[in-house]
Amino acid sequence: MATSSASASSTKAIIILIIVGLLVFTLPTVLVLMAGMIPSFIAYATDRRREKYKTLSVGCMNFLGLLPLLTMLWTKDHSFDMAFSLFADPFSWLMVLGAAAAGWTIFLIAPSVVAMFLSARIELSVDRLKRRQNKLIEEWGDGVSGNNDTRSNTDNGG
């Protein structure tokens, strides 16, 4: 047992070292990501659900908006200067925030759409069940509904 917990701790330490190493070597990318993903961080902070649907909705779209900046950073010059110049361009912010706003919009609109869809489906089912009940009454009379059920009282022996 002691051996296995020691090996798990060492694995964790190796992974942390790798990540820290990567962060050190990719600091411009980290900078762009930290700044560009701010809307996602906000969504995360305000998301009370355990499943973090809001974070996912905003995060996915936010990352999509940030992807062109990251691509430019990686392909042109992976430096802090390039990273700062990208953020200096208002178009870059428009793209990043616009994408995050789209994610947010999707998150806000979807429940209403789903509610509409759900109520339409329930009403259809209720209509179908009521039609079936009416058909049963037509076939068996009012007694089948249990209301005014004189018939069921009289035919016990029959």
Binding site: R49, E51, Y53, K54, L56, S57, V58, G59, C60, M61, F63, L64, L67, P68, T71, G103, I106, F107, L108, I109, A110, P111, S112, V113, V114, A115, L118, S119, I122, E123, S125, V126, L129, K130, R132, Q133, L136, I137, E138, E139, W140, G141, G143, V144, S145, G146, R151, S152, T154, D155, N156, G157, G158
Partner: protein
Amino acid sequence: MAPVILKELFEIDDSVPLAGYDSPSGKAYACKNLGEPQGDLMAMICEPSIPMRMDQITALDGFPGTVLVKCIDSGVVNWATSGRRQPVLIFEKPAGSRVFETMESVITPLTDDQIITGFLTPAVATLREFATRGLTHRNIRPSNLFYSDDSARLIMLGECVSAPPGYNQPLIFESLECGLAVEMGRGVGTPADDLFALGVTLLSLLIGRNPVPQIEDPYSFMLNRINTGSYANIVGNHRIQMNMMELLRGLLTDDLAERWPLADVQLWVSGRRLTPKQVKLPAKAARPIPIGGFEHENVRSAAHGLSLNWPIAGDVIRGQDFDTWIRRSLNDEVILNNLNKAAGTAQAIQSSPRADDARLVAKVVMALDASGPIRHKGFASHIDGIGPTLAVVFQDDILRKQVEDLITSGILKQWLALQGRVKTELMNIYGTLEKIQPMVALPGPGFGIERCLYELNPYGHCISPMIEHLYITQTSELIPALEAVAHDENLPPMPIDRHIAAFLAAHSEHIDERILRPLTHKDNRPADEALKVMRILARVQSVYSNGSAPNLCLWLKDLTQPAVDAFNNIRLREQIERQVVQASETGFIVALMRILDDNKVIDLDKENYRKAQQEYKQCSAQIHRMDIGLEQKENLAGELGEQVAAVISGVIGSIGATVFVMLYLV
């Protein structure tokens, strides 16, 4: 009025009454034979409430000679005067008039020669023929004698079939054995009873009037006859020639062993003359026993006293005085043996419970007078008279109860034990009484006292208030009778009542207890009683195959409507309604029954109805759940919507990233 036709053989003219030929239980009308002429005929329209001797009519078939008013046919006709169906008897009409118009008539006394040649000779021959056939006339009296022609030389005996034996006989014409019973219960008796009646009739002809025109108190009259002999009480002070005295003493003696048989009468008629013997009186006890304020000196008198004073007779019998009287004063071994057989030992009698007094009295009376009628709770009848009595008194609650009590008392076993030789006919009646005794107490239709009535009167008509006026005597006539009833506007509640059920059970071998028992038990099915009635009538109709009965079917259709209404499925119900209407129009109850009595269809309908009810409930529950879901749709849609939003964003993000990377790489 149009003549009434009977069996397409006889035409009865109801506008020509023959008052001179009426009998106490029937009115005579002119009648003619539509087939071969059979001489003068008369039709007697009989009282429906009085049972006729139908078995006697059959037994008298082919009776020889012309000195008996013979019944040649019988039937039932629609009688306009009474507005109902009535039984009719067709008789050969005597050519002469009635000898005594009524029992109060006074005529010129007949001479010895007239009596011997004109009356006794043919009467003895007639009674001999009766005896040969094992029959009795039991209706011999002056007012039932006719001259065979206008010359008034030959006297013929009147009819003997329109009423129960001895029913129309005044008390003086009945022997002690029969006279102690009620009029309806006098029984068929023996030739000796006919000879007794012949003797009193002979006396009436001799003196030209009824020898005892009025009896103030029948009880005292019978008591006097028992104690001082019938001869002394009937002949009394009438002056009789010596030669006739011998015959009268022979015929009117109360001791059956001493009463002249037919052979002796025949010898007397042929000319044998002996010195008249004194009439033998019953053996007297050493001292009398007081019962009900009267001192009884012989057993028959004591039996009469006990039976008439039955409420106090139990105490008398249990008393030491009675035992001493029987054992010491009477000193009759036969009576002692009878008492032991019927009621047990002295100790058994004395320890008998008070509640059993009526039975005890009946048994003791039976033991004291074994040849007399069975007497129970003041009612007295011979065993073969119980049936006719029940038929006549059925509407009288008190008398009917008396008959019922007699049947259920269980004293008939003792009666049988006390009889010597019992005629086959009486044994058959005993067998029937034993069979029906347990049925009397059963409450359901087809049992009870009504069953007794029809079992004991195999030729009796059904006296159900519904069809009594139609006078049906055979079960095959029931469906047409009910069809006629169904034709009326005011229908009875049910086509079968207690009388019809009992009539069917007693008279039809096809309707047994298995079929009748369900009428006793009720179940919850709608129109249950009507369906049970329908099953019985369907069986009767199919067994006797006597045509369709559409009105009866319509009646049954109405009665069984609740059974149709009980079908749950509306379409099935409508279909069954159509089928029931079609079936009732055919007039065959079986067709109706097949539809309404199909248990498979009924069960299937019930099962499907139950399933439909369940399904309806399930639908209601689902609707309720959905209504709740609709109310809570915001909550439901919130979570689901967020999931959907996450998925949509994820999908758009993935596709967008893939497209971007691909565009960039290309």
